[in-house]
Amino acid sequence: MTARQKQLLYVGAALLVVMSWTFYAADGPQTTAVLAGTVRAATLLALGAMCGMIGERSGVVNIGIEGQFLLSAFAAFTIASMTGSLFLGTVAGIGMGLIMGWMLAAMAVGLKVDQIIAGTVLNIAALGLTSFFYDRSRSLGMGKYTNIDLGPLAEIPLVGTVFFSRPPLTYLTMVLLVVVHIALFRSVWGMRTRAIGEHPGAADTVGIDVLKLRYFNVTIAGGLAGLGGSYLALEAVGTFSRAMSGGRGFLALAVMIFGRRTPFGAYAAALFFGFTTALQNQFQLNNTFDIPPQFVGMLPFVVTIIVVALSGLIGSMRDPAALGQVYEKG
């Protein structure tokens, strides 16, 4: 990031804080609702973006996040409603994410199928399977995950409610952001991962098994998307419905790119996109605009297009050099 971009970012952040407080003073409940909605939407996007960045940092494009969200949400919901345990449901969602990650790896890394096609296969399979096996009569008898107050932190006005009085998977995501950041940029694994995404040949000549590491990373990353699915079904919504991922797996990729394939960058971007989603919800609730709700619902996607186009103008980041390419030895 250049100094100028950083300046812009700080000015933007400061402006947002000032604005939020002004609105909060004017209308407390609504502001809180919008900001809480922001964090809620951002959590899913952040998990998807982390899944995407681990793949892309190792050179594998994952456009199957949408499908990974959906099928994992289904698995999480079904197991939770069968066992009555949200925890087991969450584990099932993560497990399903790992399986789908492994399938993507098997196709894209093992069989060297075109990565875009492999991801599309996941998306179509997830939509078909969940629609077919969807059982309307199921529900979560015990309800969804509830908020946990983090002691005195939760008492802070606005910030407390928005960040420190949240359900468990949201906290887990925040912890994972730090973990993934350290793993990617400080650990031996992270250094090797970045190397195989930039120059797999170089990694190979120093004895790093490129295909094995890509296989591993794409699978593990699937677990993050799986957690996203669990979050969606068991924490954000509390039920399962057809195609409930609603394009957010793709939005997560935009978030990842806008966040420069770093966890913290992605979270900032996720909060931004989450804000547009929450704002849009609030507009619809209040009937702010006298236009069909579908148009108001377009807001996050219109903003995505504008922002991605703009970020191309404001000094774009280079993709990992080996992104999307099959690695052949020798």
Binding site: I182, R186, S187, V188, W189, M191, R192, R194, A195, E198, H199, G201, A202, A203, D204, T205, V206, G207, I208, D209, R318, A321, K329, G330
Partner: protein
């Protein structure tokens, strides 16, 4: 200490269609430098890739420190003390020098890379061997010579006692190359053994203790610098006596054909690659553009041939402005182009030899009539090209991909030279082809000059530039350092200019 550090014993390796290594034996002893000499395609890289565990031999043995070993991958070779500097550097450009050096063998604490420890080991290493380097620089910001130093340090960091260097001087200026040879000589003082691959005779004589010459995958000679000389080595390498210098008469320069003025061109990444170039080429002379690769040569050639639009400046051919002309507009003015990358821009490899022989003219009479190709005329033309330019092929119907590099190049030259040409733009015209074909193409280029064509020759091989040019322009960082008359130019002077040094 072991008798034999590294050896190949009767190694054979078959690739689809080529026997790349045929019963090769060679050995390296501690403290010595073994030069592997051979033309392009002789099997040198294949052999060292086998010694490094990248490829497995079909038969034969690899010996490391007196022990027969079975290498399953580079890490097997690395752990036995073999280090390799590849022909194409194996570095991760956006990572730091220190990260590149320790990658794969990182000092770590609980899974986290211990960068402080890594940095201090790298600094210690670079001081011990006198290979100074900034450990925190990004590799992509380093000049090629420095990147090569990183590669050497990478091997030394892994405690290599054998260093294999595959064509290490190809990307260096002559002075940088000499410096490298000095460094390698010093390294052997500690007992390190070095395998040095090259096709440059001068370097072999300067540095080798033992020389093994390969041709067509076989060992065709073993000697030492004391027992041989350049022409002896060349003869072994090619299998017959060769003329190392082309005969040429004095140039008869006439009118200006190509005039380039204040030309600026961007590269693919949008950086200025050609920075305000002005020069002229006259009919009947060869202007050679010397320079280490990547100093704007490619962008210059692409601009002059209409493949890339310049940012600003003008280009004229015989007085007519062609600055924003298409490749076809320019070709119509009588411009022939031998492109740098023959696979990508020279031939269409799935097309037949006959079709390739008219790629620049198939749309014109007599090769087509009202939009329909006339196969009989094209075939006759192709037969002529094959005959006149000595293209070795079973027939004109085979796909271009089945020709060897040298024969593809002769086909391209034949196609481009069969019209009456005003301007010839030859980029790396003899890269990667055998000496026989090199001689042939050099003679043909001079023939065009003597018939009155203006020739712009771009080459990274200094010997080629010195041998063919009447005037020599040296390109550095997109700018012309100087333009010398051929008789004032020597290796030393041009080499310094190539490094951007004007005294």
């Amino acid at each position: 200490m072991s008798e034999v550090l590294l050896a190949a014993r009767n190694v054979t390796k078959q690739f689809p269609g080529v026997l790349a290594n045929d019963d090769i034996s060679a050995q390296l002893r501690p403290g010595r430098i073994l030069a592997l000499l051979g033309e392009n395609g002789a099997g040198k890289s294949t052999l060292v890739n086998i010694l490094f565990g990248m490829y497995r031999p079909d038969s034969g043995e690899v010996v490391i420190k007196d022990e027969i070993v079975d290498l399953h991958g580079p890490d097997d070779a690395i752990s036995r003390g073999i280090g390799m500097v590849h022909q194409h550097f194996q570095l991760v450009p956006p990572m730091r020098v220190v990260e590149n050096i320790v990658l794969g063998a990182e000092p770590s604490k609980r899974g986290l890379v211990d960068l402080a420890e890594a940095r201090s080991r790298v600094v210690e290493l670079s001081q011990r061997y006198g290979l100074e380097i900034d450990p925190d620089a990004l590799v992509e910001d380093l000049p090629v010579g420095m990147q090569q130093r990183v590669e050497i340090l990478k091997a030394l960091y892994r405690e290599a006692d054998v260093l294999i260097l595959d064509e290490p001087t190809g990307v260096l200026t002559p002075q940088e190359a000499d410096h490298l040879l000095g460094v390698l000589r010093e390294l052997t003082a500690t007992g390190l053994g070095i395998v040095f691959i090259t096709h440059k005779l001068r370097e072999v004589l300067a540095i080798a203790d033992d020389i093994v010459v390969l041709r067509n995958g076989r060992v065709v000679g073993e000697t030492t610098p004391a027992e041989t000389n350049e022409s002896g080595l060349a003869e072994m390498m090619v299998g017959r006596s060769v003329v190392l210098r082309v005969e040429k008469s004095a140039a008869q320069p006439a009118d200006v054909v190509l005039a380039v003025d204040e030309l600026e061109v961007n590269d693919d990444r949008g950086h200025l690659a050609v920075d305000g170039l002005s020069f002229e080429v006259r009919a009947g002379e060869v202007l050679g553009i010397a320079g280490v690769e990547g100093n704007g040569q490619r962008e210059l050639v692409e601009a002059v041939t209409g493949l890339r639009h310049p940012l600003s400046g003008t280009m004229r051919i015989n007085g007519e402005e062609v600055t924003n002309g298409s490749a076809r507009d320019i070709s119509k003015k009588g411009v022939a182009h031998i492109p740098e990358d023959r696979e990508k821009h020279g031939v269409i490899s799935v097309y037949s030899l006959a079709e390739n022989s008219v790629l620049n003219r198939y749309h014109r009479s007599p090769f087509s009539l009202r939009g329909v190709l006339r196969r009989d005329v094209i075939d006759r033309h192709a037969e002529d090209v094959v005959e006149e330019f000595d293209v070795r092929t079973p027939s004109i119907a085979v796909a271009a991909s089945s020709l060897s590099g040298g024969n593809k190049q002769k086909l391209i030259v034949g196609r481009e030279f069969s019209d009456d040409i005003k301007l010839l733009i030859a980029a790396q015209p003899t890269r990667g082809i055998d000496i026989g074909a090199i001689e042939f193409i050099h003679r043909r280029i001079l023939e065009q000059r003597d018939k009155g064509a203006a020739v712009l020759l771009v080459s990274a091989e200094l010997d080629e530039i010195l041998g063919l040019s009447d005037r020599i322009a040296v390109l550095y960082d997109g700018k012309l350092m100087d333009v010398l008359d051929a008789q004032d130019a020597d290796r030393e002077r041009v080499g310094l200019l190539m490094a951007g040094i004007t005294q």
